[in-house]
């Protein structure tokens, strides 16, 4: 048990350098802007005075080292900068959008699990059958159809033609289902393949032969024995994919005008609100890192075979 606690602590400690690298990369972004970011922000026709004010606001008037210290200080204190025109604080805007993104990603994950586990298991247990071919088809379509084509297609079919879901908007299951399904498509494809191959692998194990030999019905063999082991790798993939969903949500949110961090990020880019862009990227990346770490820890709990390194 002590070894386990040690492994856990070690895993948590790895997060620190990764988060540090993420923050540093995000901090450096403003310095890759070609030319003068302050001038870019206020526009070509601004006076020298306005440019100088913008420069001070972006913190670019100080040497790089103290800018970096200030950046960290601001992050910790919750002062992530303000919009130069509307005077809105960055952190406040991100916090107000964050729940929508998480809602979308969680719903997508739920849908992807609901599709891929039954489909993957059936494909594996009925290898070569119709369902197996169907799972291959779903997997291929899911990875190759871009969400910004799938999304409009779903809206066209279900909202415009069939009238079963609203075209856009937020609040309630009705509005959530199409964006969540769009976001879930690529993940379902990937996950179905993982579930299928993982279950196929387990079916070759000795314990399956033993269970069958002692006369257990096939259902019991599959659901009580194979799934328990076969789904362990799936949990890891689920966690890793949650991060991919967060990134994918940037595009899905734009398709459906979903008011999450992703659409805020896209808006901030076109408005050249650098501080807001940095904040959005930081929040998405940090969520990704933390979810991955949590998954890794859960994985260790689920599978005691994973030894302490």
């Amino acid at each position: 048990m002590r070894g386990f606690a040690f492994a856990l602590l070690r895993r948590l400690l790895i997060v620190i350098p990764v988060l540090w690298a993420v923050v540093t990369l995000v901090f450096l972004l403003i310095h890759i802007v070609p030319g003068d970011p302050a001038r870019q922000l206020v526009g070509e026709n601004a006076t020298e005075e306005q440019v100088q004010t913008a420069r001070v606001e972006l913190g670019l008037d100080k040497p790089l080292g103290s800018q970096y210290v200030d950046y960290w200080r601001g992050l910790v204190r919750g002062d992530w900068g303000i919009n130069p025109v509307t005077r809105q604080p960055v952190l406040k805007r991100i916090v107000s959008r964050y729940p929508s993104t998480i809602e979308l990603a969680v719903a997508a994950m739920f849908i992807a699990t609901l599709i891929s586990i039954p489909l993957g298991v059936t494909a594996a247990t009925h290898r070569g059958s119709f369902v197996d071919s169907l799972s291959t088809l779903v997997a291929l379509l899911g990875i190759s159809l871009p969400s910004f084509a799938l999304g409009p297609l779903l809206v066209l079919i279900f909202s415009v033609n069939l009238g079963v879901t609203p075209v856009s908007g937020i609040g309630g299951i009705d509005n959530l289902i199409l964006p969540a399904f769009t976001l879930a498509a690529a993940m379902s494809a990937f996950l179905t393949r993982i579930v299928r191959s993982s279950v196929l692998e387990e079916l070759n194990e000795d314990y399956v032969r033993t269970a069958r030999a002692k006369g257990l019905p096939e259902r019991t063999v599959i659901y009580k024995h194979v799934l328990k082991n076969g789904l362990i790798p799936v949990v890891t993939v689920l966690g890793l994919q949650f991060g991919v969903l967060l990134a994918g949500a940037i595009i899905t949110e734009r398709v459906f005008s979903w008011p999450g961090v992703g659409s805020l990020l896209v808006d901030s880019i076109s408005e050249r609100d650098y501080k807001l862009t940095q904040g959005c990227i930081l929040v998405i990346a940090a969520t990704y890192v933390l979810v991955n770490t949590a998954t890794d820890i859960v994985y260790r709990f689920l599978d005691p075979r994973i030894k302490v390194e």
Partner: protein
């Protein structure tokens, strides 16, 4: 080779041809000329894919869109594979603390960041252009090749023929170029075709977000974004570019999967 991989090759070859020969297939004028009276027209005989929100010929724009898609895809695969192979083989060959920093830290930092987010971040601050798009997608692409190459180096350098070459006085560069690289070329090709599919999808996604090539060059992802107000009145404006993106991504994924199955004896039917 499987039928799937073959069909992938055929479609990919057609797309590359379409990109290379697009000036012969449609005039640039047709791409550009607007006709607001007949905007959003559905497909008909003279405009087989209809007209867009500015009355431009959708088919000509689709044909020229293949140029951006293929050009970005090929450039990204070329740059990221070269950089990845160099860093990966250096790390694997050097071993020790160099390897620990490169594979233990550098790889992890890049892998702990969702790729597309990093690309968005870079282009958002560098400004959208063809060059910046290729740079951003290469920055997120090289890690895959580097990991692969490092693993190959660690594996192949233990083989007897490498020891023999070393005993005969071959230096590290020669061993790498003449012995390790030729033995790693097959998995690299698989990685490259899957990488091509990924780069095409990423280019389309970035263009959809307004972070791709600027006007007036048509790009499939951007065509979908530009027509967003008319998706449901003129669905051909998102369906045709969407089908093209899906076809291109599928074709290169088919090639990659097909080659991998061929190279991996564990996946061969017994």
């Amino acid at each position: 080779m499987s039928t799937i991989a073959k069909s992938g090759f055929v479609v990919a070859a057609l797309l590359v041809l379409m990109a290379a020969l697009s000036p012969l297939l449609a005039s640039w004028e047709r791409v550009q000329s607007q006709d607001l009276v007949s905007r959003l027209d559905a497909p008909d005989r003279s405009h087989p894919m209809g007209r867009d929100q500015l009355g431009r010929d959708e088919l000509a724009r689709i044909i020229y869109g293949a140029r951006v898609s293929m050009l970005v895809g090929l450039s990204v695969v070329t740059i990221s594979s070269i950089v990845g192979v160099l860093i990966g083989s250096f790390s694997g060959y050097a071993g020790g603390w160099v390897d620990r920093i490169v594979s233990g830290f550098l790889f992890n930092v890049f892998l702990s960041f969702p790729g597309i987010l990093l690309a968005i971040a870079m282009v958002a601050f560098l400004g959208p252009s063809l060059r910046n798009l290729v740079v951003a997608l290469s920055v997120i692409g090289w890690v895959g090749y580097a990991r692969l190459m490092r693993a190959q180096v660690l594996k192949v350098r233990e083989y007897d023929f490498v020891t023999a070459a070393r005993a005969l006085g071959a230096n590290n560069v020669r061993i790498l170029l003449k012995h390790i690289l030729p033995n790693s070329i097959q998995p690299l090709i698989v990685q490259a075709s899957l990488g091509m599919a990924g780069a095409i999808l990423a280019e389309a996604g970035m263009s959809f977000l307004g972070l791709g090539v600027p006007e007036p060059i048509p790009s499939w992802g951007k065509m979908i974004d530009d027509s967003r107000e008319f998706w449901f009145t003129a669905p051909h404006l998102f369906i045709f570019p969407g089908v093209m993106i899906a076809l291109a991504v599928l074709a290169f994924n088919f090639i990659g999967d097909g080659l991998r199955e061929k190279l991996d004896p564990r996946q061969q039917p017994r």
